[in-house]
């Protein structure tokens, strides 16, 4: 690897690479935000083995990032209720541009590219009205703001692109206002959903859990090549309640599968990240210090590992890679590989391999 990287760097400095691709960015397989031992915040590219391809300073705690499908470019979002996002050139390690949420909006920390990378979408809060919005940005034109569409609910958090060009949006259902920080203003009446939204703002389908699970905030998503959407939930009711925290909605058949509550007790009401690989879905819980893998066939529990503060998870082939807040990177494919850093890996590990 080092040899190949220096070869690429040589190519770059010699000006022999007219168009930068992901391979030029030191071939990162994943992106993750992190905190350094000095308390500063960074965005990192990581190889499949967990070595750091690049490390870019960012001004505040990051959350997730959206990787451009073809260019070595990622948009990294501040943790909610952030108002800035950084367009990062992952080949040069430079911040190409800063995006700011328009007046009256803040970002939630996730975004997605659509239209082959031409359009960036961001989950946003119209906080005076308490409405979830998706901001549209023109990636071909310096990320100019193009407009906004409804998210289909309140408190949109994660969002994923479907094969038909629609966006699957996790509307967590929780209303917040920047004046009161992260205080949840509507727990009594919250109504989370999974919405499928087209770029023209049409909400073509809204999936809700059964009414007894109305306090299950649908927060993070994964989608596989067959348009099955994995949902990771955060329970806002009593922590001792036994509720499913993982569900999979098959967007093609409309079938909704819920995990077994008793298997998910050890997640302590909080599924932090989700990924799908092959015929499995993986979730993590930093509160419970546990990662679990389930079969998509019958939602049987296949495997679990216990690691303090585990949260980031991404697919690699039919297996998974996980990261923890205490700096551990683990590639669980083949012979397990572990890399311990002094960084605190943040909630999400963003895969660039798909």
């Amino acid at each position: 690897m080092p040899a190949r990287r220096s070869f690429l760097v040589g190519l770059l400095s010699a000006g022999l690479a007219p168009r930068l691709s992901w391979a030029d960015a030191g071939s990162p397989a994943f992106l993750s935000a992190a905190r350094t031992p000095a308390g500063r915040y960074v965005l990192c590219g990581l190889s499949e083995a967990g070595s750091i391809s690049f490390q870019i300073p960012i001004p505040d705690r990051g959350h997730a990032a959206a990787a451009h499908p073809t260019k070595p470019q990622a948009v990294a979002f501040a943790r909610r209720p952030g108002t800035f996002a950084l367009v990062v050139n992952c080949a040069t390690g430079e911040v190409d541009q800063r995006l700011y949420a328009p007046e009256g909006r803040h970002f939630y920390g996730h975004g997605a590219f659509a239209e082959g990378g031409d359009i960036l979408l961001t989950t946003e809060n119209d906080y005076e009205a308490g409405r979830g919005m998706l901001g549209l940005w023109d990636a071909r034109n310096g990320y100019a703001r193009m407009g906004e569409i409804t998210s289909g609910g309140v408190g949109p958090h994660d969002m994923k692109l479907m094969s038909d060009g629609r966006l699957a949006v996790a509307n967590g259902g929780i209303e917040t206002h920047p004046e009161t920080g992260r205080t949840k203003l509507n727990l009594a009446t919250m109504q989370p959903n999974l919405s499928y939204v087209s770029l023209d703002g049409v909400v073509s389908e809204v999936v809700e859990l059964n009414p007894a699970l109305r306090r299950n905030s649908i927060r993070h998503l994964a989608v596989d090549g067959r348009d099955r959407v994995g949902m990771a939930m955060q329970w806002q009711g009593d922590v001792a309640d036994s509720v499913p925290l993982v569900a999979v909605h098959d967007a093609r058949t409309g079938k909704l599968m819920l995990g077994a509550a008793q298997d998910q007790r050890s997640l302590l009401g909080y599924a932090g990240s989700i990924a799908m690989a092959g015929e499995t879905v993986a979730v993590t819980s930093p509160k419970g210090g546990i990662a679990q893998t389930y079969s998509l066939e019958d939602f049987g529990l296949l495997n679990q590992v216990e690691r303090p503060d585990i949260c980031g998870v991404a697919a690699i082939g039919a297996e998974y890679v996980t990261t923890t807040g205490s700096g551990l990177f683990e590639n669980h494919s083949g012979r397990p590989k572990r890399t311990q850093t002094r960084l605190n890996w943040d909630n999400h590990l963003v895969s660039l391999v798909s």
């Binding site: 920080g181 009594a188 807040g325 909630n347």
Partner: protein
Amino acid sequence: MRLAAAFIFLATPLAAQDVDGAVNEHILPGYSALAEETTLLADAACAAEDLKPAFSSAFDAWVRVSHLRFGPSEADDRAFALAFWPDPRGSTPKTLAALISDADPVVEDAAAFGTVSVAGRGFYALEFLLFDPQFAEQSSSPYLCTLTQAITRDIAANAAAIEAGWQNHAALMTAPGNDAYRTEEEAIRQLFTALATGLEFTSQARLGRPMGTFERPRPNRAEARRSDRSLRHVVLSLEATRALAGHIATRDDALDALFEKAISQAEALDDPVFANVATPQGRIRVEALQSSVEEIRRYLGGTVAPRLGIEAGFNALDGD
């Protein structure tokens, strides 16, 4: 063995936590007082002059347990039905106005009234009926009397159900190794979370809602401002969380001093509904109080939690 136990006790005099004390001296008496006061409220006559004192005592009793949001309070949405606030979309007056304009007969049956939106039930709905001119001016109408009594009886029923639930829950919490609390650590973590979340609510909602921003203060968003109770709730909840903190971190004088400072600041405010947040001088004083509450939270997270062995990780700290 006895020697080893004694040694551990001596070696960690500050790390004590007292789940039994928290349950038996704080939680059970708190919910018992709520049940008693709300029974008196439900028995009060419809006239505002009879209801208001009972409302005040019962609401006090609620605020003193309002941080204890787990177990029986969460079953069947009881706590939400008792206390629907904040209400950013104004759902409480809308729900009440709809009931009144339809003269909805749902108020005549206690079980049916339990199906009404939580926005139209509980202490904050009752406050609207008793203190907001929109409703208080029609207080002589028979429908309003029936609605008021439906609300007070619903409050009493929910308070009684929470108290009854705690008879069993107390045993689960004080003798872990069950489905609710698998270990003592889970019981302590639950109490710690209740304490930290209660303080966060006081700081971010009870103080933060009326503060708004410097450019745009929002005194009209103060909690229970119609009954002049906004500051009172801050003081009561600080006193109650101080009592719980005394069981989670016994003999922690530094922690107690932080509560003392915040409560003194609150008591010195002389601004019952935070009307002064609209002036720079008034705002600075509320900001100082909020900073003091935040200081308690930081101490809990940075000093108490690690001592209890329940320090939150980088990603486990708060939901995202």
